[in-house]
């Protein structure tokens, strides 16, 4: 047990993304790094939701968000759901040195609904103070073609808010970032728009049913013929 655990040792011994998320957070020494660690953790959890989407088809926003918060807490993040921060914010992640990351979760039904989430986050919940300059809009998508949806959402957002600047997100091709001057503080406030694809319409059972139907009708036809 006299081993000196270097960062490389830790990464090699624990390549699991959940380990990496924990490490990224406790090794963070600036709010910028903490934001990055939070985003990575949320991406990791979103991947897990996507992998088990078949079990999440009938869950409402709150239940999905609770799943996210539970997973974040399992990794040691101080995450909570529905905490009163200017109102009942879906995801609140608190940290040292007054770090605060807020997340608003919405199931995509219309772009106006997503815009409501954006407005809740940027005008109701967040204060835009130093250390609290970033948040996330988490979009649960039960529809197909998430990329197209996100592009359309981006267009919609720019049309509604010409003060918002859009940039790509290096962490995910599906996500994008928006930045605008926060109404309260005047400081730049960055929101990461992150979809969680939950579309689940497997085609294999439909094909099998068709085959079964055809086999049955052939059998019936042969019987009739035999008679």
């Amino acid at each position: 047990m006299n081993k000196q655990w270097t960062i490389e040792d830790l990464k090699l011994a624990f390549p699991d993304p959940a380990f990496q998320c924990r490490m990224a957070m406790f090794l963070a020494i600036s709010h910028e790094e903490r934001i990055s660690a939070v985003e990575r953790a949320i991406d990791h959890v979103a991947q897990n939701l996507n992998r088990t989407r078949q079990h999440r088809q009938h869950k409402n926003e709150d239940l999905l968000t609770t799943d996210i918060v539970t997973s974040l807490k399992d990794m040691g993040f101080q995450a909570s759901h529905d905490t009163d921060v200017g109102g009942h914010c879906d995801i609140v992640i608190e940290g040292r040195e007054d770090f605060l990351w807020l997340g608003e979760a919405k199931t995509h039904s219309s772009y106006d609904w997503l815009y409501k989430g954006f407005q809740q986050l940027s005008t109701r919940y967040s204060g835009g103070m130093p250390g609290q300059e970033a948040g996330g809009l988490i979009i649960y998508c039960y529809n197909k073609k998430v990329l197209e949806m996100m592009r359309d959402w981006q267009t919609h957002l720019i049309e509604r808010r010409d003060d918002v600047k859009i940039s790509s997100c290096a962490l995910s091709k599906l996500a994008f970032r928006s930045t605008h001057a926060h109404d309260a503080s005047g400081l730049p406030y960055m929101i990461r728009h992150m979809p969680v694809p939950l579309y689940f319409e497997p085609q294999d059972k439909v094909a099998r049913s068709k085959d079964r139907a055809q086999t049955t009708s052939r059998r019936v036809a042969r019987k009739k013929g035999a008679q």
């Binding site: 960062i7 959940a18 399992d74």
Partner: protein
Amino acid sequence: MLSADELKLKINRIWGVAPGAMLSLRIIDFLTSVPSEQLSMLTFGNLCRVVGKPEPDKDLLTAINILVSSKVQVLETHMLFIDDNKDEHEIDLKDLQETRRSGVFIHPRTGEMINNFEAHFVPFFVPSQSLREGN
């Protein structure tokens, strides 16, 4: 600064009795039982011994995350650079930040770029100022 008991209650309230949270309570007990001047450098090895594990695992990393990055804030992360000559250099936090941002680490003595610096960086922990003052 909250007392040890108040800190533990806070952790319990937020994280319940999850294994990582339970380990963080044991670490708090250790930190508050030893004078802070004897806690100038806590390595992963030290923390493993405190919680009775042969090596770090996800629960210990969760515990460390709770103690370092949440508002509980009883530990701070620092970094030691050990070069090929086994010489040790504590890395200034500003340099560390710059290294992470640029992906480049500069040997404090030679001024040369160290490419695989993560193989030479050893994280360690010290009690936070608020814990030290409380102790």
